[in-house]
Symmetry: C2
Subunit: 337 residues, 2 copies
């Protein structure tokens, strides 16, 4: 084990930034000056987002490897860019590092960052490394691009639009449940799939690009649960919505874990966060075009409901024909049907 006091700050930075490769067309100066220097394309809009992850709050090294934490810290930001229909481009990484961490662990964290950066073609152009007394804190700031006028905001949903998601939901919440209740008797394959969904995040960049190109009206990534994201979209758009409970797609392995845990899989799908699929709205007339484009790009879309007028509120249509309010709840505020 190499200690941080052995390398010092500059030795550590040298280790962490080793092997960084930049896109020469856009990165004039990366790590190593007061700021990064980037070339911009006047025909594009910039997308600018940030997320802070705190050890013990957003992740724990008991469930995730440092490599997974690093990858996730970048991926949650990439997911935000995807939700605007953009491409991620340049990132800065700030890390507060506790002294008890080994240099090898910090290097592993950065391996995860670099791996995700490579996969999504993000240039890691700088950052800050500081001491933190107790725990690891990692903050990523990410710049992306989208063609001028093509960013998909939350505010564009209109009554009559259909609501879709790009994949099944609830696996990340099921995975978290299994980490927190390790004694749960559950088939290996289902447990593995759910645990992986919780620790490995795949942002839907290609999906977001395709959907933006088709002119979807509003879009969001599902970081806080489908219900919470719909509340954001409806608030920004000045609309209500009606979600069909039995249309919300839940993967078989989530149902399997839920049944062993005595939980309702729909709760995980609606209120468990961190699935990172996209939820979007589109006018019914555009559905055939969106569907064709999705099939061509190799992903599925699932219709889960419709946008309604503001006065109608946010509702959930139950299988028995009744309706219930759709609560604005994340994972912590479970709602019983």
């Amino acid at each position: 084990m190499v200690k941080l006091s052995d390398t010092g700050e500059f030795g550590l930075i040298e280790l962490l930034t080793k092997g960084l490769v930049y896109d020469p067309a856009t990165v004039i100066r990366g790590v190593g000056d007061d700021t990064a220097v980037l070339r911009v394309d006047g025909g594009k809009w910039l997308l600018f987002t940030t997320d802070m992850l705190v050890e013990g709050v957003h992740f724990t090294s008991a469930y995730s490897s440092w490599r997974q934490v690093g990858a996730k810290a970048l991926a949650v930001n990439i997911s935000d860019i995807a939700a605007m229909g953009g491409c991620p481009a340049h990132a800065l990484v700030s890390v507060g590092i506790p002294r008890h961490l080994a240099v090898e662990e910090v290097v592993e964290l950065y391996e995860g960052l670099k791996e995700a950066a490579g996969t999504y073609r993000v240039n890691l152009v700088g950052g800050d490394t500081v001491v933190h007394p107790e725990r690891l804190v990692i903050n990523v700031a990410l710049l992306g691009e989208v063609e001028a006028g093509k960013a998909v905001l939350r505010s564009g949903a209109r009554p009559g639009d259909w609501i879709f998601v790009t994949g099944t939901l609830g696996a990340s919440a099921a995975g978290l449940y299994l980490y927190q209740h390790p004694g749960t008797a559950c088939p290996q394959a289902a447990a593995k799939a759910c645990r992986r969904a919780h620790t490995v995040l795949v942002p839907r960049v290609d999906e977001g690009r395709v959907l933006a190109e088709c002119g979807v009206t509003a879009m969001d990534d599902i970081s806080d649960g489908l219900a919470a994201e719909l509340h954001q979209i409806c608030k920004a758009s000045g609309t209500g919505c009606l979600v069909q409970a039995d249309a919300v797609p839940v993967a078989p392995e989530v149902k399997e874990v839920a049944s062993r845990a005595g939980k309702d899989p729909l709760e995980w799908a609606l209120f468990g966060g961190e699935d990172f699929e996209l939820v979007f709205t589109v006018s019914p007339g555009k559905f055939p075009e969106v569907n064709r484009a999705a099939v061509k790009a190799g992903f599925c879309i699932y219709k889960v409901g419709e946008i309604t007028a503001a006065g109608a509120g946010l509702l959930l249509a139950l299988p028995d024909g009744g309706t219930a309010p759709l609560p604005d709840g994340g994972y912590d505020h479970f709602f019983r049907l």
Copy 2:
């Protein structure tokens, strides 16, 4: 006192972002979507920087008000943009907040951020608010702009260039000393000036713009002390330097505090960080132009030495005619002449 548990995350965000004003020409979407959306000018280069401040490491509410901490968190980043010769433009703010903090304290922190943003015309376009178990952590990511080709890198210094700083040094270190040794007998006015230099940071944006326009060859903001910044410039430029100890400008109040504290004021000026003046290099032939421009803009420049060939190393010329190596030391690694 309002508790965080009373407002919740979204109530807090609403409080913190109240009254934010954006530049309509460049900010298409600020706070309130997955990402900020910004218009870019194709003729500009982007400058992109970040800094993380950890309570108890970089600041303490015992010395600084929350308003000062907020302002400083933005200003340290603005200083980095200034050191490239650019203008700050758009910022994201991530804050990890301990539960014991009152909502009023977080609001005060943001008042400081907003005040600094107003002064330097920065749009606060988004961020992240999360819970932190022990202490406040604040991360700012800042975008700036500079005319294409005009960014002043660290790597441009050439042997024969003269080295200048834009103001007197050491006051921040003297202020920190006074905070840490409150019993020091010292004239009120001097103590107040030094304490203020430690808690209130004035980034040299106008100075940086003027100097970049004049074609200075390398520039850095003095965050880690003059000696440390010269090490950065010389390393990046592949040069050495010779600093004249008696030419390093030290304010009278710093000398006063140092004499009462039994310290050498030159140590504070060379190795005490956080003065946030600019250090720059320029060819001697350009000096008259730079000097005229500085006088016109209303600031002083002080010649502290010259850039030399790499083989010569980094040296300090002492008043007695001898020379000593210039250590690469920040505030923690004091060097005795």
